[in-house]
């Protein structure tokens, strides 16, 4: 029981650390916002709040599509997903059983963000 509590505390601490990092990231130039979703709660911070639903749907679809595609092609578990449009891109990844999607302008180096968060 004690061990379980300790593990839960570790995970919560990890998530807190990630949220701290996300606070720094969202102030960087070119970052549009992020969605961090766990089993029980989600944190959303987007510059344009009117886009919350569309971006949440896109984030969820990206995870599902990534899972289905890699499963069909027998590539194993998904590590990162990057969706690019003409001007915007989305980086999605799993961190400590949380689904994180960061929306950014195309010029932002998503590899740098990934290294910072992992």
């Amino acid at each position: 029981m004690l061990e379980k509590n300790s593990k839960t505390d570790d995970t919560e601490n990890d998530i807190e650390k990630i949220q701290e990092k996300l606070q720094d990231i969202k102030d960087q130039e070119g970052i549009i916002g992020y969605i961090l979703r766990g089993a029980k709660k989600a944190s959303i911070d987007l510059k344009d709040p009117t886009k919350i639903i569309d971006y949440a749907v896109l984030s969820s679809t990206a995870f599902d599509a990534g899972h289905n595609m890699t499963e069909a092609l027998q590539m194993g578990e998904v590590d990162t997903i990057v969706v690019e449009s003409e001007e915007t891109k989305l980086l999605s990844m799993n961190i400590n059983n949380h689904r994180l999607s960061i929306f950014m302008e195309k010029s932002v180096d998503h590899n740098k963000l990934y290294k910072n968060l992992k």
Binding site: A72, E77, E87
Partner: protein
């Protein structure tokens, strides 16, 4: 999958690219409207359709950030790259440690060059005629002949869309584009049997406009199909 010369040329290109870059595990090309043109020989159609379905769904939702240009997935055992090339999508599934420069040269140089070259040979090739799914009706009797029968409207539609050479010729010679009619069709069953045969308009008024193909009984036996089955039909080049 498309069996026209353009698709065959692309298939050969993908096969050769795979030989040259062993890190490539799967590759296939499809149009923006979701028609698979060709894929490497080791990727079955079911896999391609599964991937395509997920991609089409993602493409739709990605409109929230603009038109989807590319998709990159890194997984435990490999990488997936989906690129926009002109009005097509190229999917490459590679090993995890595949050289980024190689992938870039395939998606940004090799395949676009091949497409451009093919376009030079057949400028209007991109108007792929997707096969129509038609319901089989058997033609019996002494006058059944060896031609299948299809709705005149479908034949007209194919004549408009599937006659690039006539249009090119008309453009070069500045003559009026006299549309040649479709004389032959390719029939493919869902069991994998296929045949090319002559085609005529449906002559029975009661069967017109019902999305039917009337096939002589003998040919039905060869194709292992029965009345009421669905078959894929497209003009034969």
């Amino acid at each position: 999958m498309n069996r026209d010369p353009y698709a065959i040329a692309l298939n050969s290109a993908l096969t050769e690219i795979k030989k040259a870059y062993p890190d490539i595990k799967n590759s296939f090309i499809f149009t923006k409207n979701g028609t698979i043109i060709t894929g490497d020989q080791e990727t079955d159609e079911k896999t391609m359709n599964n991937v395509l379905e997920s991609f089409e769904n993602l493409k739709e939702k990605a409109k929230a950030i603009g038109n989807l240009k590319s998709l990159h997935i890194t997984a435990k055992n490999g990488k997936l790259t989906l690129s926009n090339i002109k009005d097509m999508h190229l999917l490459l599934a590679t090993s995890k440690h595949a050289d980024k420069n190689h992938i870039y040269s395939i998606t940004h140089v090799i395949i676009p060059t091949i497409l451009k070259t093919l376009e030079t040979f057949a400028p209007t090739h991109l108007q792929f005629t997707p096969p129509k799914k038609l319901i089989v009706d058997t033609l019996t009797g002494f006058f059944a002949g060896d031609s299948v029968q299809i709705d005149a409207e479908i034949l007209m539609d194919w004549t408009k869309n599937n006659n690039p050479r006539a249009r090119v010729k008309a453009a070069i010679t500045e003559e009026q584009n006299t549309q040649e009619s479709i004389n032959q069709v390719q029939i493919e069953t869902f069991g994998g049997n296929a045949a090319v045969c002559k085609v005529k308009e449906i002559n029975d008024q009661n069967l017109k406009g019902k999305n039917m193909i009337r096939i002589p009984e003998k040919l039905c036996k060869t194709l292992e199909i029965n009345k009421g089955d669905l078959v894929k039909v497209k003009p034969a080049l």
